[in-house]
């Protein structure tokens, strides 16, 4: 669960009274934009708005500075549906923000993030803004390791900024405000909070730090984020309809994690266990319609509901339904198989031509396999079941070969009379 930008991110800052550049949305009137420009030295900043997170790479080229309302509106037109490439993903903006330009000769980068080296959050400070933290040399950044119970204190900030040769009047401004970010981090279930940049403006002779952008990622296992009162749709484009439907089943009883990988894929994998999820998704590559983890011994009703949703969305285009995992520790294979195959009985009419491959081990294994066998025989669906004494990767590679064969022979599959 991630968000980028001040449109919604400002809420986090406002809850702890951390200043930020004023923000208007794409619905702002010309008068409002004009007033914004006038109040900020004749400039405003226009940025495309992306829901969800857009990853670690910057939005270079997607930020405009306008000196007039006309320029601002032109920028709005250009950026409203801007596309941003991130790895294999292309995300599309849906709207813009107009943000007050904060004149400053100083920019700061600050983040609080979970550090696996220290196994607690750390604060990172850089006396430059708009940078990618990985690209900054170690002497130009400071990592503050603090007591994770009592939090970040002013002296942490003072000491770090002094080591970075920060100008004194900036130190006093930052010392007053940066600890507030810890309050936000701790209260609202954040895993990462990044302000990049903070621009320090002079207001009536006093230095005041303004957050000019924000990136936040939330811990989906910590309900603290709900206190922010965000509308649910701001995280929604992070996930697809299918993923959202599966997510409604999320409980601590068993996993129900899915990601849509390739809507044109041909293998529909029910994967059990995080390890199997990693390995199987890698081997299956683009053939996998989804990546899934249904391990952790989900009860029958949950497994059946998961399968209902999955088959409803994907069975029609599937060549091979694959059930894969290692030797389960406590997942009842009979219960999970019954859930899946009971669902398959109800959905087989969507695609009676599937093949099924199973590679699994664990408690009640044979009972589960026999149940699956009986269901599939009744429906005349071809199958091959492997126990845990066959290599999981071997089963995956075999499934790929089967998929190849099905694709090749889709029109010409011959059956004995």
């Amino acid at each position: 669960m991630q968000l980028t930008g001040l449109k919604y991110g400002k809420r986090i800052l406002e809850m702890v009274e951390f200043p930020h550049s004023p923000v208007l949305t794409e619905e702002a009137s010309i008068e409002e934009v004009s007033a914004l420009i006038a109040a900020h030295g004749g400039k405003c900043v226009i940025k495309p708005f992306f829901t969800g997170g857009i990853g670690k790479k910057g939005k270079a080229g997607l930020v405009r500075i306008a000196k007039s309302v006309h320029e601002a509106m032109e920028a709005k037109k250009d950026l409203y549906f801007a596309k941003h490439h991130q790895g294999n993903h292309v995300v599309q903006a849906n709207g813009v923000t107009f943000e007050g330009f904060i004149a400053s000769d100083a920019e700061i980068y600050v983040s609080i993030s979970a550090s696996t080296i220290h196994r607690q959050p750390v604060m990172t400070l850089i006396l430059e803004g708009g940078v990618e933290v990985e690209d900054v040399s170690p002497d130009k950044k400071r990592e503050i390791v603090f007591n994770p119970i009592t939090g970040i204190k002013s002296y942490h900030i003072t000491e770090a900024l002094t080591e970075l040769d920060c100008p004194q009047d900036y130190i006093s401004a930052l010392v007053a405000y940066l600890p507030k970010l810890w309050q936000a981090y701790d209260t609202y279930g954040l895993i990462t909070l990044e302000i990049n940049p903070i621009r320090i403006a002079k207001i009536k002779g006093r230095a005041v730090p303004y957050a000019c952008d924000i990136k936040a990622s939330f811990d989906q296992d910590n309900p603290g984020w709900k206190r922010l009162g965000f509308p649910s749709e701001i995280f929604s484009t992070d996930i697809t309809d299918f993923e959202a439907e599966i997510n409604t089943l999320r409980t601590y009883q068993g996993q129900s994690d899915v990601t849509e990988l390739n809507v044109d894929g041909t293998i529909l994998p029910f994967i059990f266990g995080g390890g199997a999820n990693s390995a199987a998704t890698e081997v299956l590559g683009q053939r996998a319609i989804i990546s899934s983890d249904f391990g952790g011994n989900p009860p029958y009703d949950k497994m059946k509901s998961i399968a209902d949703i999955t088959f409803k969305h994907w069975l029609a285009k599937t060549n091979v339904v694959l059930l894969i995992g290692g030797k389960a520790n406590n997942t009842d294979i009979f219960v999970t198989f019954k859930g899946i195959f009971d669902s398959l009985k109800e959905h087989i009419h969507l695609n009676p031509n599937i093949h099924v491959v199973v590679g699994r081990g664990g408690p009640n294994l044979i009972r589960g396999m026999v149940y699956a066998r009986d269901v599939l025989d009744n429906m005349k669906v071809p199958y091959q079941f492997f126990g845990y004494d066959s290599s999981m990767v071997g089963v995956l590679e075999h499934t790929i070969k089967l998929d190849d064969w099905i694709i090749e022979n889709k029109e010409n599959n011959k059956k004995v009379g």
Binding site: Q120, V283, M379
Partner: protein
């Protein structure tokens, strides 16, 4: 830097254990938090017994005083950790199964209340990162090692101790075999899987630890490797790693910087390259990487450490420090190579291998290429014995459930409104021989044409046998019973007679004798037959005619090369034992079992279906036999009864049905029409009155014959009668014209005129009725449909399909064509709001009328007889669907499941 409890270890944080043995051993004493919860209830008894009773107590808030039963004795349960300590119970390890929000509180409790606590295992997943941070801080100060969260615990294979979750599964002794390899795995599942894999290279385990893959891993790789170095039992370490976190980098850097000595080889697997572009975690919470800790970065950490590239099985190259392998399946091989390089022997002889060994396979007739066409192999113990037991179960196995308003045999396709039986649309059945359809209804597969050469004689013999009940039907008809009543009377009188009993017991016995021995093939095997001849079958009387039919069937079997092991067995049995058992009944059982065998061994039907098949077919025979209108004048019926000419048995079933119904031979395409009609009406889903009648009778635990009667009693003039109303309507409209007097193209115009007149008449009737305040006026039968309506021009796709099929077979039914004109004219005169569809009942009515038109015009058939024939034709079709529903309900239903709950029943005064 926070102030943590320190000891003489090379870490900037607290690590308690010195050696892996310290994590879990025979001296460990364990308390389980939330011991009585769902997961712990299943796992703890196994862990406790496996570990030699190391769980000294459990905590369940609010349930102090209870016990957890285990195979090796009860574990006392207390309401809090304080109560455990106050009871004088000493323990050093806590395991937490609580829900996520309660975990950090439980950790606090363990630390605050037990001065001896040394280790905590957190099984719970989905712990918030914040709580995980609190736990880390608190336990570091307190000096407690934490394993997890989201961990399946830790196992010491040498001491046979397992602490935490279900590592090793429900039979840990299978997976946890003593050896020299320690495993640190981010995946709980792979912790156990890898122990299985390394057995194939002859290696067992010393300590296995499931670290979890949350953002904060509390017992990371660095401390694990440190402890492994100090563990005399461990000679190598296998590491399974996912993206996210710098745990591995830290560990390897500490070794390279000399922070601690590490001399043992590591076999590492890193997975998750594909997660690079994800913006949220899938699977493990912490397996979401930034830039420097993704899978590729981690691969490089290890490769740089080992000094050799990723293991390549084609050109194996390893170092003494170890190697990184591409997938877990390469671990055993790479491990063996590394240990060989170090001059170390394996722990034991290799057990098994990881090649593809399917345990269950069914290609369902697909012709796979060689590399995909795997044959099932014997599974490893103990699964081989379990599979053998499962394979001894005959046929399909169903779990029972309430089957009211539910069917596993038929369904209505919601999109097309066409009923399907066993997944086959009725429209696809239309052209099948009706005799084959009667078998399909129970067997779920169609017999081949060659099989029908021997099955038709059996089906026709059942008609012959069924004639014995005709006096009951005659009496009932004489008393004014409708066809469902008078034929139903004969059906009921058949009870559970000697034939039914014999067929069931013979089939059951043959299944018992042959099922496990012959597998799917029913080829003749004299040796096998010989070995079964000592069996004893039930005894029944036989008649001379029975013996004649027996001889006839034997010759037909030979003629059509349809003998199989069952039929040959029967011949051998009869030859050896004489005729104490009715040879004909034996032979029919054998023939039917041969027809059932494929469906039975492929587990598409149950043993009960195969055993009861003869009963269903015999009941069908009774229905046909007792439909005769006037038996004394029907020579065809007599020939079937007497069997003076056996060739009557070779007819297609529908041919004998025709002759018995109409007392004449079919001409031209009449057989095609009647056959189509029968197939079209076999079912309309489980919601129909006929299906419900049968199912409710099964639900009340009746014989199959009574269930058949149930179907028949639930039919009535609203079924076939609707067809008869249409017949009456058509007869009235065609009073003045014989549509068969001229070729169709010459009367087409006439049909339109008749339709126009009929429409006008109806409009007049409707206006009159409305002005008289009669709102329930008559509708024209066979037009309109509750689903296919509302459009400007409506079509019943089923009727449309059949009409097209008939046209392709050069069949044009003038009465049906008249209906199509009629619906248009009704709209034209304003009697209907749009053009109604001609529904499927019109097909039934018009085909029926066509079949007895000539006889009607020649006054050879009375009106009542026509009504009875139309009704009976419906019964012939529907009896087939009934067999499917009855079989399905007998397999799956529960007693009294068709009862309507009181809450769904209404009352009106």
């Amino acid at each position: 830097m926070q102030e943590n409890k320190k000891n003489n270890k090379p870490f900037p944080y607290y690590v308690g254990v010195e050696s892996l043995e310290d994590l879990a051993n025979k001296n460990s004493r364990v308390v389980i938090m939330n011991i009585l919860g769902g997961e712990s209830s299943k796992v703890t008894p196994v862990s406790h017994t496996y570990s030699g009773n190391n769980v000294v107590a459990g905590v369940q808030y609010g349930k102090g005083g209870e016990v957890m039963e285990t195979p090796s004795g009860n574990i006392p349960v207390y309401g809090s950790v304080k109560e455990v300590v106050d009871a004088g119970i000493k323990f050093d390890t806590g395991v937490i199964y609580l829900p996520p929000a309660a975990v950090s509180h439980a950790v606090s409790e363990l630390c605050a209340r037990n001065p001896d606590i040394k280790r905590i295992v957190i099984v719970t997943e989905k712990l918030s990162v914040r709580d995980s941070r609190y736990i880390r801080w608190g336990c570091q100060r307190r000096g407690v090692d934490v394993i997890g969260a989201n961990s399946l615990g830790v196992a010491n294979t040498w001491d046979k101790v397992r602490i935490g979750g279900a590592l090793g599964g429900d039979k840990p002794q299978e997976s946890l075999v003593k050896g020299s390899v320690a495993i640190h795995s981010n995946s709980g599942n792979f912790s156990t899987t890898i122990t299985e894999y390394i057995k194939t290279a002859g290696f067992g385990t010393s300590t296995v630890l499931s670290s979890g893959k949350d953002v904060y891993i509390h017992f990371g790789l660095a401390e694990f490797l440190y402890a492994a170095e100090n563990d005399k039992r461990t000679k190598a370490v296998v590491v399974y790693v996912e993206p996210g976190g710098y745990y591995e980098k830290m560990a390897l850097e500490m070794i390279q910087q000399g922070k601690f000595k590490f001399t043992k080889p590591i076999i590492a697997v890193v997975t998750g390259r594909w997660k690079k572009d994800l913006t949220r975690s899938v699977g493990h919470a912490g397996a979401l990487a930034g830039a420097g800790d993704d899978a590729i970065a981690k691969e490089k950490f290890f490769d740089d450490y080992f000094g050799v590239p990723e293991y390549n099985p084609a050109k194996p190259k390893v170092s003494k420090l170890g190697v990184r392998v591409p997938t877990i399946q390469h671990i055993p091989e790479a491990l063996a190579e590394v240990m060989k390089l170090l001059g170390e022997k394996s722990d034991f002889e290799p057990i098994g291998n990881l090649s593809l060994k399917p345990w269950f396979v069914n290609s369902q007739g697909n012709h796979y290429p060689k590399e995909l066409a795997l044959e099932p192999v014997k599974a490893i113990a103990p699964y081989d014995a379990e599979i053998e037991m499962a394979n001894k179960l005959v046929g399909a196995q169903y779990m029972r459930q309430a089957m009211r308003n539910t069917s596993g045999a038929t369904r209505m396709n919601r999109k097309t409104d066409v009923t399907e039986i066993h997944g086959v649309s009725l429209l696809d059945l239309v052209s099948k021989p009706f005799g084959a359809t009667t078998l399909f209804a129970v067997l779920k597969d169609f017999p081949t044409d060659n099989e029908m050469t021997i099955l038709n004689p059996v089906l026709n013999w059942f008609i012959s046998w069924g004639t014995q009940f005709v006096d009951y039907s005659i009496l009932a008809r004489k008393n004014g019973a409708t066809p469902n009543g008078y034929i139903g009377a004969s059906v009921l009188m058949s009870g559970d007679n000697e034939l039914y009993k014999a067929l069931k017991s013979n089939s059951s016995k043959m299944i018992e004798l042959f099922y496990t021995e012959i597998g799917k093939k029913i080829d003749i095997n004299d040796k096998t037959i010989e070995s079964k001849l000592g069996s004893v079958f039930s005894e029944q009387a036989h008649s001379e005619q029975d013996l004649k039919v027996y001889d006839f069937l034997i010759s037909e079997l030979k003629k059509h090369s349809m003998e199989n092991i069952f039929t040959r067995f029967v011949v051998a049995y009869v030859n050896k034992n004489g005729k104490k058992s009715n040879p004909l009944y034996l032979l029919i059982s054998a023939i039917l079992l041969g027809a059932s065998w494929k469906s039975l061994t492929e587990r598409r039907i149950t043993e009960l279906d195969a055993v009861n098949l003869g009963v269903y077919l015999a009941l069908n025979g009774i229905i046909v036999a007792n439909s005769v209108i006037n038996k004394d004048e029907n020579k065809f019926w007599k020939s079937v009864k007497d069997l003076s000419d056996m060739s009557v048995l070779n007819e297609e079933l529908s041919a004998n049905c025709f002759k018995i119904l109409f007392n004449r031979k079919p001409e031209g395409k009449e057989m095609f029409s009647l056959n189509s009609l029968f197939n079209l009406t076999i079912t309309n889903g489980p919601g129909t009155l006929s299906a419900k009648g049968a199912k409710e009778s099964v639900s009340a635990k009746n014989h199959i014959s009574t269930a058949y009667a149930g179907f028949m009693m639930n039919t009535g003039l609203a079924h076939g009668g609707n067809g008869f109303e249409a017949v009456a309507f058509l007869i009235d409209k065609f009073k003045q014209i014989d549509p068969y007097a001229k070729p169709f193209d010459q009367i087409s115009g006439e049909l339109k005129k008749i339709a126009t007149t009929a429409a006008g008449d109806y409009m007049g009737y409707k206006k009159k009725a409305k002005s008289a305040g009669i709102l329930q006026y008559d509708k024209i039968p066979c037009t309109n449909h509750p689903v296919f309506k509302g459009k400007p021009v409506n079509v019943d796709p089923r009727e449309e399909y059949v009409r097209e099929l008939f046209k392709k077979n050069s069949l044009v039914n003038p009465f049906l064509e008249f209906y199509h004109h009629l619906v248009v004219e009704l709209f034209n005169v304003g009697a209907t709001a749009n053009v109604f569809c001609v529904n499927i009942d019109a097909v039934i009515a018009t085909v029926s009328l066509e079949l007895f038109w000539k006889q009607y015009k020649a006054n050879e058939i009375k009106e009542q007889e026509m009504q009875d024939i139309v009704f009976t034709m419906f019964l012939f079709g529907r009896m087939v669907g009934t067999a499917a529903e009855v079989a399905d309900h007998l397999n799956r239903g529960t007693d009294m499941d068709c009862r309507t709950p009181a809450s769904e029943v209404g009352f009106v005064s």
